[in-house]
C-alpha cells in the first residue's frame, strides 16, 4: 500500500544523477532538496498551486451551493419527472468524459472562455453536480422532515428553515461532499490542458504533465511535485476526517 509513496518520496530526495543509478538504491546516498528547489524556481510551482487551490475551492463551493438546493428538492419532494431526473444524474457517472472533450472545447471557444479560469471553474462545477446531488440527497433523507416543519410552524419560510435548521445539522455531509469535489477538481488534467494557454493561469496537474517529455520523464521534478500535490488533500482529509466519516456513513447508506 504505502510502498509507492515511500518510493516517490525517496526519489524526490535524490539528486538528479542518482535517480536512475543501478543497482537501485532504497535509501538516497545523498539527500538533496534540489528537486524541490527547482520546481519552485524553474517551474514556478507556487503559481500553479495557487491557481489549483483557487479553482478547486471556488468550484467546490459553487457545487455545494447548487447541489444543496437540488439535493434538498430531490429528497423532500415528489413530482413529475422526479425519477427521470435522478436517473439523469446517475447516468452521468457512466459517461466516458473523453468523448465530450472536443465539443466542449468548441463550446468554450464560442463563448470566448478559452484561456480563462472561469471555464475551468464552470466545468469543474458541472462535473461534480450530479455526484454531489446524489450524495447530499442521502444526507437530507436522513434528517427527519419534522425538523423543518417545526421551524416553519414558528414562522420561518422554507428557505430560512433550510438555512437555519437543516444546513447546520448537515455540516458533516456538506464537508465530505466538499472534499470529494475538491479532490476531483484538484487532480483534473484533461480539461485544464485544453482550456488554459497562459503560464500564469496553469494548474498543478498541467505543470506535472509537463515533466513528461519526449525521451524522458523528469522523475526528480515529478516525484517532488507528487509529494507536494498530495499534501493539501491529505491535510484537508485529516482536518475534516471526523466530518467525512460521519457524513459518508449517512450519505452512503441512503445514497
Amino acid at each position: 500500500m504505502v510502498f509507492p509513496l515511500y518510493w516517490i518520496t525517496i526519489t524526490s530526495l535524490k539528486p538528479q544523477k542518482d535517480i536512475f543509478t543501478y543497482p537501485i538504491r532504497y535509501w538516497p546516498e545523498r539527500i538533496s532538496f534540489e528537486n524541490y528547489e527547482s520546481i519552485f524556481r524553474i517551474s514556478k510551482f507556487h503559481i500553479y498551486i495557487g491557481n489549483s487551490l483557487m479553482i478547486s475551492i471556488v468550484a467546490s463551493l459553487i457545487v455545494i451551493v447548487i447541489a444543496v438546493f437540488s439535493a434538498y428538492v430531490m429528497a423532500r419532494y415528489r413530482f413529475r419527472g422526479h425519477g427521470q431526473i435522478m436517473l439523469g444524474f446517475f447516468a452521468t457517472q457512466m459517461l466516458p468524459g473523453f468523448i465530450s472533450l472536443s465539443s466542449l472545447y468548441m463550446m468554450m471557444s464560442s463563448m470566448n472562455l478559452i484561456n480563462n479560469r472561469f471555464s475551468l471553474i464552470l466545468m469543474y462545477t458541472v462535473i461534480m453536480i450530479p455526484f454531489s446531488t446524489i450524495l447530499l440527497r442521502g444526507f437530507f433523507q436522513r434528517i427527519p422532515s419534522s425538523l423543518e416543519e417545526a421551524a416553519m410552524m414558528d414562522g420561518c419560510s422554507r428557505i430560512s428553515a433550510l438555512f437555519r435548521v437543516i444546513i447546520p445539522v448537515m455540516l458533516p455531509g456538506i464537508a465530505s461532499t466538499f472534499i470529494f469535489a475538491f479532490v476531483q477538481n484538484w487532480n483534473e488534467l484533461f480539461l485544464a490542458v485544453m482550456f488554459i494557454d497562459d503560464e500564469p493561469l496553469k494548474t498543478l496537474p498541467v505543470a506535472m504533465n509537463s515533466f513528461v517529455q519526449k525521451f524522458d520523464v523528469d522523475w526528480g521534478a515529478m516525484s517532488a511535485g507528487t509529494v507536494l500535490s498530495v499534501i493539501p488533500t491529505v491535510v484537508l482529509f485529516a482536518v475534516a476526517q471526523r466530518f467525512i466519516v460521519e457524513g459518508l456513513t449517512q450519505g452512503a447508506e441512503k445514497g
Partner: protein, 449 residues
C-alpha cells in the same frame, strides 16, 4: 448559449461569474493587452498598430521553452510594436491541443508544425503556405534542401524547421572497449555484437529495443535498408517496381533478423516499451545500443558519465546501403491569423542563421542552414557522425517519408500491433508482412482515386 444561462441562472451564476471575474484579475502579469479577458483580436486596427502575436510550441520541454522565450524576448526588444505570447502545452498533449485551437480558430498566429502533422494541417486548411514570404527572405538561399523538403507538401512550403532530426546509432563505448569489440556497422553486426554483450543475469542487453509506440521506426528502417537500391526514394513505402517494400524477400530477411535481435539481444520487457523506456534503459546502463534522434544527446549528456558513450552512423543492410530521412518540426502560420506579416517577421527572426545554429546546438539538432555545417561544433562529438552520413549520399540514401498519405497517422498503431503479435509468436513474419503490404496498397489505392 452564454446569454441563456446568464438570464436563467437565477443570480447564483451571476454571482459565480462575478466572483470568477474578480479572481481572473488577480493572476499576476496579465495586464497590458488584455490577456484572457475575452475580446481577443478585435482591438487591432486603430492607433499606433500594437500587434499581439500568439505562438504555440509542440515539442515542449522546460529547457527548450526557456530558449524559445529568450529569442522571443529579443524579438520584442527589436520590434516594440509587436507583443509575443508563447503557449507551451505539455508535450504529450501539445499536438492535440494545437489541433483543437486550429479547428476552433482560437487566437494563434505562429505554431510549431511537425513532420507528422503537416500533411494533416494542410489538408484541413489550417495553415498558410509560406512561399510568398520566403521569396523576399535574404537567407532562404542558404536553407538546406533537406530543411525545405521536410516542410513541403505538394511543392508548397508550410513551415521553416527549427532544426532537423536524423537517426544514428548511440553505443556504450566503455563496454565495447572492455571486451575489445568493434562498433557495429550493419544490422547483422548489431545482432552479433549485441549478443556477445547480452547477459540477462547481470541485467545487461545488446539492443535498446522498442516494441511499443514508435516501433515502426526500427522495423521500417531495417526493411528499407535491406531493400536498399530497390526502394523508390520519392515514395518510400514502395519499391521501384511499384510493389510495397514489405512484399520483397529482403523484407522477410530483415524481419527474421529483427526477431532474432529481440529474442536474443534485447530485454524481453521491451516488447511494450516506448521512447522513454528505451532511452532510460540506455542511460541507466541496461543496454548497449540505441537508435535515436540527436535531441536525445541532451538527455545522455545529463544522465551519463562522459566517455561512456559515443555515436556511429546508422547500420547498413546486406547490400551496404541504408536509407535515411531527416525529420523536423518548425514554425508555420495559422491560416486564420490576422497578423500574417508580423508572424512571418517572427519566423524569419527565429530562423536566421546565427539564432537557428545556436538553438540547434543548445537543443541537439542539425541546423537548417547549410552554412552552419562549417561550424566547429558540428564537426566534432556526437554530431560528427551525422555529417559523415550526409557526406556519403551513395551509401546513406535519402528518402522522403510517406507523410503525404492520410494513413501515416494510423500506421504506427497498425505496424506496432502486428509487430507485437509477431514477437509474441501470435503471428508469423509472413502474416505480419502481408498485413503491412495490404495496408499500404490500400493507402496507395486511396491516393490514386
Amino acid at each position: 448559449m452564454k446569454r441563456e444561462w446568464l438570464t436563467k441562472g437565477k443570480g447564483l451564476l451571476v454571482a459565480a461569474s462575478l466572483l470568477a471575474g474578480l479572481l481572473a484579475g488577480c493572476g499576476g502579469n496579465e495586464g497590458g493587452t488584455g490577456g484572457g479577458s475575452g475580446d481577443g483580436s478585435s482591438s487591432g486596427g486603430s492607433g499606433d498598430e500594437q500587434i499581439k502575436l500568439r505562438v504555440v510550441e509542440s515539442l515542449t520541454s522546460p529547457n527548450r521553452t526557456a530558449l524559445i522565450q529568450k529569442m522571443l524576448d529579443d524579438f520584442q526588444a527589436e520590434n516594440p510594436n509587436i507583443k509575443v505570447e508563447l503557449i507551451s502545452p505539455p508535450f504529450d498533449q501539445a499536438d492535440n491541443k494545437i489541433r483543437q485551437m486550429l479547428s476552433a480558430k482560437e487566437d494563434v498566429d505562429v505554431l510549431e508544425v511537425r513532420d507528422l502533422t503537416v500533411a494533416e494541417f494542410v489538408n484541413n486548411g489550417y495553415i498558410e503556405p509560406l512561399d510568398s514570404f520566403t521569396s523576399g527572405w535574404s537567407e532562404f538561399d542558404t536553407l538546406s534542401n533537406v530543411s525545405k523538403s521536410v516542410g513541403m507538401i505538394k511543392d508548397k512550403l508550410y513551415f521553416i524547421p527549427n532544426g532537423l532530426y536524423q537517426r544514428q546509432l548511440f553505443y556504450r563505448k566503455d563496454w565495447l572497449d572492455e571486451k575489445g569489440l568493434k562498433v557495429p556497422t550493419t544490422y547483422e553486426e548489431l545482432y552479433e555484437i549485441g549478443k556477445q554483450l547480452t547477459d540477462p543475469a547481470n541485467n545487461r542487453f545488446g539492443f535498446s529495443f522498442r516494441g511499443g509506440p514508435g516501433s515502426q521506426g526500427v522495423t521500417d528502417a531495417m526493411v528499407l535498408a535491406y531493400n536498399g537500391d530497390k526502394v523508390n526514394l520519392e515514395d518510400a513505402q514502395f519499391l521501384k517496381d511499384g510493389s510495397t517494400i514489405y512484399s520483397s524477400p529482403e523484407a522477410k530477411q530483415a524481419m527474421e533478423l529483427y526477431l532474432k535481435i529481440y529474442k536474443e539481444t534485447s530485454p524481453p520487457d521491451s516488447i511494450n516499451w516506448g521512447f522513454q523506456e528505451q532511452v532510460q534503459a540506455f542511460t541507466s546502463g541496461v543496454t548497449a545500443f540505441l537508435l535515436q534522434d540527436p535531441d536525445v544527446i541532451q538527455v545522455l549528456t545529463e544522465k551519463m558519465e562522459e566517455g561512456t558513450w559515443a555515436t556511429a552512423p546508422m547500420p547498413l543492410g546486406p547490400s551496404g546501403k541504408a536509407l535515411i530521412a531527416a525529420g523536423g518540426a518548425g514554425w508555420g502560420i495559422a491560416a486564420h491569423s490576422e497578423h500574417k506579416e508580423a508572424a512571418w517577421k517572427l519566423i524569419e527572426f527565429l530562423s536566421s542563421e546565427p539564432r537557428n545554429t545556436q538553438f540547434s546546438k543548445d537543443f541537439g539538432m542539425v541546423p537548417i542552414h547549410s552554412t552552419a555545417a562549417e561550424d566547429e561544433y558540428f564537426q566534432s562529438g556526437p554530431y560528427k557522425t551525422l555529417l559523415e552520413m550526409t557526406d556519403k549520399p551513395d551509401i546513406f540514401l535519402n528518402y522522403k517519408p510517406p507523410y503525404q498519405y492520410p494513413g501515416t497517422g494510423q500506421w504506427s498503431q497498425v505496424s506496432m500491433e502486428s509487430q507485437q503479435a509477431m514477437l509474441m509468436n501470435a503471428k508469423t513474419i509472413d502474416e505480419m508482412l502481408a498485413d503491412w503490404s495490404a495496408y499500404w496498397e490500400e493507402e496507395k489505392a486511396k491516393m490514386n482515386k
